[in-house]
Symmetry: C2
Amino acid sequence: MSIKKTTLSILFKDLTFTDEEQDLIASKFELRKLKKGEILLHANDVVYHQYYVCNGCLRTYSVDKMGKEHTLQFAIKDWWISDYTAFFTSTQAIVSIECIQEATIYKVSRENMEVLFDKIPKLESFFRRKMEKSFANFQKRILGSLSMSAQERYNAFLNKYPDIEQSVKNYHIASYLGITTESLSRIRKKISKS
Amino acid sequence: MSIKKTTLSILFKDLTFTDEEQDLIASKFELRKLKKGEILLHANDVVYHQYYVCNGCLRTYSVDKMGKEHTLQFAIKDWWISDYTAFFTSTQAIVSIECIQEATIYKVSRENMEVLFDKIPKLESFFRRKMEKSFANFQKRILGSLSMSAQERYNAFLNKYPDIEQSVKNYHIASYLGITTESLSRIRKKISKS
């Protein structure tokens, strides 16, 4: 499976590669098509891969003891997604990953990433900066969960994932915000009135 | 300010360094003593540094519009701390960092870290792995805030920060758990009874 130069420039933005580097990357990335409803990763699977979303929409979620779903993240075009806790340590996933809108993704294993980091060190810097941004996002999310009202969290969600609302179900959004779907409806009504 | 080989081996665990590398690291790390109550970083400061805690205890917190404090993290011996969102982008802090138990820390600037990564690439790998672990911690924390009861979050806090309870005030813990100090007292009573 080959990756086109244009795809690489979308994936890795400002980075440029020699033909040899490009071939190496292409040999480590695997293209996959996902159907809506497909589960890419099941909780309790050992996690060897992370995924880059070319298009479509995925979400990571966990199910608690009462059977209730909690959405950790959505991933849309140009996002990376995995159960990173498990991916970094090659341990069992605590979240599942579901395709909620038909998607094209690249998958790459941790092992192959280490090979790439070794051969193309600028990729390690690239992924460190990616990680830093995701980390910053998580920090904001935790502070949000401690300090923001449900309506403020809903507005932050809309800013973070523009145009996502039509692709995802209400209970996905509610389970991301930590509220019921009824509360979500009330918030939307309140906003549309104001 | 020089860093001893023993300190380096605590800071960077399994890594070993040449004398030259050690001198370079020492020239970029600055030792500081902090008194209880001292504010190391104020919200809205531009963040240029991250900090390594040799001993003592620090916390990062934000203050909401109503003046209420929310604790994002505690940092005890052998933890790194900063407002990473701001540190990674050299922008203004959204959290403050307070010393809550007399501490000795190392500070290092982002600029100097980039110099170190360039000269000693294994440090970049080291910090990437550190970041991955912190990221995993944040992921667990978000899932916890969505799916765990206050008592479960309290137990997770005790596991994460063993022996910290005597160094921190009740309102620090409550503001970390997102509950009132009264709820925290009720949880502790319930646990001591069971």
